[in-house]
Symmetry: C2
Subunit: 351 residues, 2 copies
């Protein structure tokens, strides 16, 4: 029997200022990656839009200024300023997930991540963020912190496509082990999300229906932006911070449990420009819904865990054996209807 | 502006033995209901199959013996042995949710609950459990504790239909307030689930898409049935108990948060026949995903909370404003496909 134990890590990246040089940031990422390689880690998850500050908080009047935050082209792994990361992965035979703002060849913008296999020396999969939060237009209040992802990005057009990553589990790719007959065997099955996606159970379930064993998520999560969250009740900064961590942990644990998969989440954390707050909380969560490793701070930090993919089997074969328990005839509204349609009050029968 | 504050309660019911008389059990339920009425509670949630022990743990050879655990007919509110409960609700003008095993007029069995309005003096809605857990056939091991819901019940055929409950919020039913234009106003919008349904995000989302403000769930959750859960790793009784509570709390909190609704869950708890364990943990959870009231023990216990339905609005208008953020084009698999189809390994390009 093939052992399916992996060494994995979330590579949390602390503050990245608005004017930080990409070279400096990538140098920090390479240092985290080399640390991971030296610890025998096989898969490293970096955050969302890791190469720059989280720029959707700003409104840019000058298109050229905005463009500095984007990576150009279909394949960025040879782009100046970032290729060092992928070279390091290749040399260390480590796989990585990394998020970046993508300017596609046709000019469209996406909030994107790729899975790069250091073993195979190539990108195995690309995901473009589907659940873009925030607004298209800035808040009228000039002091407000914006969240303009709907302005700068189009909703992802690549779906939630799970994929297998070869090279992590020795001998897994041998003939037959990736066949349908061997649910939960063979090369690890990965799914990628970005930030806000993790709050949407639909994203998790589409991956769950592909037998996902590891969900990878990079994120930028601010906690003290009252305009953004529309707080009805006044809340202290401390409360807002605690709540943002709580919700992050809650959705990672619950959705990992309900899909019987591991998850790795990596934060762009800290105080960008010394003032824009982002939570840490990078974590590895088990298919049983427990956080098994978690970042201690809000700076650059590697969160390492040893996981056994076979731990997914209990959930997938019992409580969450989809084939036996799901009732799709009752789920129609999920795909038919985007927004809310409230029921009307039924009038009682005439007396 | 209409105040939409409600007093609600979960009515946890402790051990009910295999040979308990229905009259005795209903007497305990009436006592809980009268306690609730005396405290000004407006809505009380009772557990799943509350009138009898949780009989799907047994295999019955004698059909007549099985039948003792079912309530007969389309409308049970006047049935001998249980009608006292509904009379009390009518007299006290309190609404209730209660679960029972239903033998429909055509002979089919369902795991059912109804919402009975003490204000209106009638049943407003019926739900039949859609996610039946367990197996059809008993385990070969005669010592095993079974879970034969798939044997005794058919999957519910009434869908997840949210409904409005009039009479709880004064003046809410006045013309116009239940119209589409007034999202989150008018009479409270309710959704009902039973036990295992709460672990299925599809159930919550279908209600969420109907603007649900209060999800009501009765449950029976054993914790030390290794055959049932297929534990791969040996686990002590204490661990199993802790884990069952953890998962219950996790799914109630996360799904309430992800649908920006309150939820009330009520356990049939305790040690039936002094040996079959069931968790307590009856709780009220806020739309922000926090448990705000919880049972202290595993016996008969009323868990009361004062909730403001307008607290649902923050989530429904910002993070979980479905109309703005959901992307149904990416969710197709959820309704197209029941079980898991794993991806195959993509062969790398020829060198």
């Amino acid at each position: 029997m093939v052992s399916r134990v992996l060494n994995v890590a979330a590579a949390q990246v602390g503050a990245v200022d608005r004017d930080a040089s990409k070279e400096d940031t990538v140098r920090r990422m390479v240092a985290l990656l080399e640390d991971a390689i030296s610890q025998g880690v096989q898969l490293v998850v970096f955050p969302e839009t890791t190469f720059t500050t989280f720029f959707p908080r700003f409104l840019f009047d000058d298109p050229a200024e905005l463009e500095k935050y984007f990576e150009q082209g279909h394949d960025i792994t040879n782009n100046d300023g970032v290729k060092q990361l992928f070279e390091t992965a290749r040399r260390g035979k480590v796989d990585l997930y990394v998020g970046y703002a993508e300017r596609a060849d046709d000019g469209r913008g996406f909030n994107t991540c790729i899975y790069y296999s250091g073993h195979a020396g190539r990108t195995l999969s690309k995901y473009r963020k589907i659940h873009l939060p925030g607004t298209r237009d800035p808040f009228p209040d000039p002091e407000a912190i914006n969240q303009l992802e709907k302005r700068y990005f189009e909703p992802g057009n690549l779906g939630f496509n799970a994929f297998r990553a070869p090279g992590l589990v020795p001998d897994a790719s041998k003939k037959g082990t990736n066949a349908k007959a061997s649910i939960g065997n063979g090369d690890p099955i990965m799914g990628m999300m970005i930030c806000n996606d993790r709050r949407w159970p639909e994203a998790w379930r589409v991956y769950g229906l592909q037998g996902v064993e590891l969900v990878l998520v990079g994120y930028n999560t601010p906690y003290n932006a009252p305009h953004l969250f529309g707080f009805r009740k006044p809340m202290s900064v401390e409360q807002a911070e605690k709540e943002a961590y709580y919700h992050h942990k809650l959705v990672m644990e619950a959705n990992s449990y309900m899909n019987a998969c591991f998850s790795i989440s990596a934060a762009r954390a800290g105080f960008d420009d010394g003032k824009y707050d982002l939570i840490g909380g990078s974590a590895v969560v088990s298919p049983n819904g427990y956080t098994i490793a978690q970042a201690k701070g809000i700076g650059d930090e590697l969160v390492v865990a040893k996981i056994d993919l076979d731990d997914c089997k209990q959930g997938k074969e019992t409580t969450f054996a989809f084939e036996r328990h799901r009732r799709t005839e009752a789920y129609g509204l999920i795909t038919w209807q985007t927004g809310v349609v409230e029921p009307e009050l039924l009038e009682p029968d005439a007396p």
